[in-house]
Symmetry: C2
Subunit: 312 residues, 2 copies
C-alpha cells in the first residue's frame, strides 16, 4: 500500500473538509490524510496544499513533490522553510475559461460605460454617452499564460482590438504581443482598457504604478485580476482623482477580505469584486490533481514544478 | 435636377443639424431641405424621418416613400395621417453589432453577479457568490431579426447556452428556436436570462408581464432592450419584490428621458440605462440611407417598406 497523500491547508474547517471530500471522490484509490496526522506527515511523499501554514512542509522528511490547489503560488514560494522539491501549480482549463468570462465582463462594462450609468442612476441622471464599436477599443492583457490566451481569444470574438504583454513575448494568434520594459511602454500608450493577469513575482510586484498609469491615454480603464501586490494603491487613487484614469475594477487586494472601512470600498472610481474573477472549481481542480498523482504512481516520475527563480 | 429630399424631424436643433450634415456628407449629389421649407414639402418624393411631428408627411403631395433613421418605426406607424407609401426602416449592421455587444455586456453582468457585488460594495460587504460556467446558463432572446441573430452568435461565442423565440420560428445556427404562445411558455421555463429585442407591435405590447415572469425559473434575470411598452412595469416590480426575479436591466421606457423621481430609478433590483444599447451611428445610418436614395435615383424602383400590418 502506497504512503498516504497529505492535504495541507490553513483554510476554514468547512473548506478543508470540502477539499478533502472532492479529492477523495477524484481518487478513491488513494488514502488522504491531513497535516494533523503525524504518522502521515512522516510517511507521505506527496503534499496537496491550499494556503499551507508556514513550516508544515518542512516537517515531511519523505516529501518528493507538492501540488498546489491554486494557480498562484506566490505566497507558498515566500515560505523560507519550503523544502527544495518540485511545486506544481494548478493549471485548469475551466479556470482559464472562467477568467476569460470575467475579463470579457469587465472589458464590456468599461467599454459601454456601465460604471458611469450606475453612478448616474443614483442621481436620476439620464445622460447617454457617446460610444464606439468594440474594434475601436484596444484591450491590453498583461500576462499571456493559459488565462491570458483564453481571455485574448474571447475579447477578439467580441470584437475588441486586443494586444498583450508577456515575459517571453511569445506569439498568440491574431494579437500584437509586446515584451520587455520598452514593449510595456509602447503597449500602454495604445491601451484603452488595461487588464492585469500576471503572476506575482519580484519583477511584476508593483507594476501597476504611477509610471504605468502616466503612459496610458487619459481616461483609460484598469482591471486588476492578478494579485493585490501588483497594484500601487496610492498611485491608482491619485490617477483616478486627477482624472488621468477613467475607472478601475479590482478583484484582488493585499489583504483579503478587504477590511470594512478601507478607502477602496467607497472610492467612486473603483468597482470592488471579492476575488471572484476565476474561482477554483473544487471538482475540476481535484480531478487535475488526481491525474498528476496517478501519473506519478504509474511511472514513478516526479512532475515538473514551477521555476522558483521565475516564480510561476 | 431632381426634387430635393426632405428631412423631417422633431429633434433638438443641434441633433437636427448634425443629421442634416451627416446626410449631406453621405450624398453630396442631393439637395436636402427640411420640413420648414414649404416648396420642398410640395416637390419632394422622398422623406427622411427621425421622430417626425405627426401630420407633416401628409402635407407632401408628391411623396413616394419614407426612410426612417431609426430601426424601430412603431411610433411613426401610429400616426393616423401617415400617407400609404412605403416606410423603410433602418437596417444597419453596425446597429446589430452594437446591440450584440450590449446584450453580451448585460448577460455577463447578470451571469457573474456584478449587480450583487455593486450592492455589496455600498455596504463594504465582501461575500463571493458561487458561479457556474456560461454554458450552464441559458440566455433566451425574444426576437431574432438582425439584432437578435447577431446577439445569439456573440452569446454563443462567449459560451452561453442560447435559445430564441420569434414570430416565424426561423432557424438560427446552433440555437434552439421557439415560436407561438406554447413555444414562449416552454422557452421561458428554461431561461436564466431573458433578453427582449422584439419590435413593438400590437402582438408584442406588454409581453413582459406577470404571466411571463411566473414561467421563468426563480431568480432569473430580465433585460429589456426592446421598447418600454413591452414591459408591464407593475408586474416587474411585484416579481422583483417577491424574489421571483433576480434582477432587471432596462434601457427603454414608456417616457424617455425617464423622469426624475420615477420609482424605477431607485429600485434596488433594477439597473437603468439611458437608451444606449444600440445607439444609431449617424455616419453609418446616413450611408445606408444614401445607398437607398441612389438605388432609387438609378432604377426608379421604390424600395420595399415595412409590413404595416405586422408593424416592422
Amino acid at each position: 500500500m502506497p504512503a498516504p497523500l497529505v492535504l495541507v491547508t490553513s483554510l476554514e474547517p468547512a473548506e478543508d473538509v470540502a477539499w478533502r471530500d472532492a479529492l477523495a471522490r477524484a481518487m478513491p484509490e488513494e488514502a488522504i490524510a491531513t497535516s494533523a496526522d503525524p504518522e502521515a506527515l512522516a510517511r507521505a511523499e506527496i503534499a496537496i496544499v491550499a494556503n499551507p501554514p508556514p513550516g508544515v512542509l518542512a516537517r515531511m522528511p519523505r516529501l518528493l513533490w507538492v501540488h498546489s490547489l491554486w494557480a498562484g503560488v506566490d505566497r507558498l514560494l515566500l515560505d523560507g522553510t519550503l523544502p527544495p522539491v518540485p511545486v506544481v501549480r494548478l493549471v485548469d482549463p475551466a479556470l482559464a475559461r472562467a477568467m476569460a468570462e470575467a475579463v470579457a465582463a469587465a472589458a464590456l462594462h468599461l467599454h459601454r460605460d456601465l460604471h458611469l450609468y450606475a453612478d448616474q442612476q443614483r442621481r436620476s441622471d439620464w445622460r447617454p454617452h457617446d460610444t464606439r464599436p468594440a474594434h475601436a477599443r484596444t484591450v491590453t492583457l498583461l500576462g499571456l499564460g493559459e488565462m491570458g490566451r483564453a481571455a485574448a481569444l474571447l475579447l477578439r470574438a467580441i470584437g475588441f482590438t486586443v494586444q498583450g504583454w508577456s515575459r517571453t513575448g511569445g506569439a498568440v494568434d491574431g494579437i500584437r504581443v509586446f515584451s520587455g520594459a520598452d514593449g510595456l511602454a509602447r503597449a500602454l500608450a495604445g491601451t484603452d482598457i488595461l487588464v492585469n493577469l500576471l503572476p506575482l513575482t519580484p519583477e511584476t510586484r508593483g507594476l501597476l504604478n504611477r509610471d504605468a498609469f502616466a503612459r496610458l491615454p487619459r481616461g483609460a480603464g484598469v482591471v486588476n485580476f492578478g494579485r493585490g501586490a501588483h497594484l500601487a494603491e496610492d498611485d491608482l487613487i491619485e490617477a483616478l482623482d486627477a482624472g488621468a484614469l477613467g475607472h478601475a475594477i479590482l478583484d484582488v487586494f493585499e489583504t483579503e477580505p478587504l477590511p470594512p472601512g478601507h478607502r477602496l470600498w467607497s472610492h467612486p472610481g473603483i468597482t470592488i469584486l471579492p476575488h471572484i474573477a476565476a474561482p477554483t472549481s473544487r471538482a475540476s481542480a481535484a480531478g487535475i490533481v488526481a491525474e498528476a498523482v496517478r501519473s506519478f504512481r504509474g511511472t514513478g516520475r516526479i512532475p515538473t514544478g514551477v521555476d522558483r527563480g521565475r516564480g510561476y
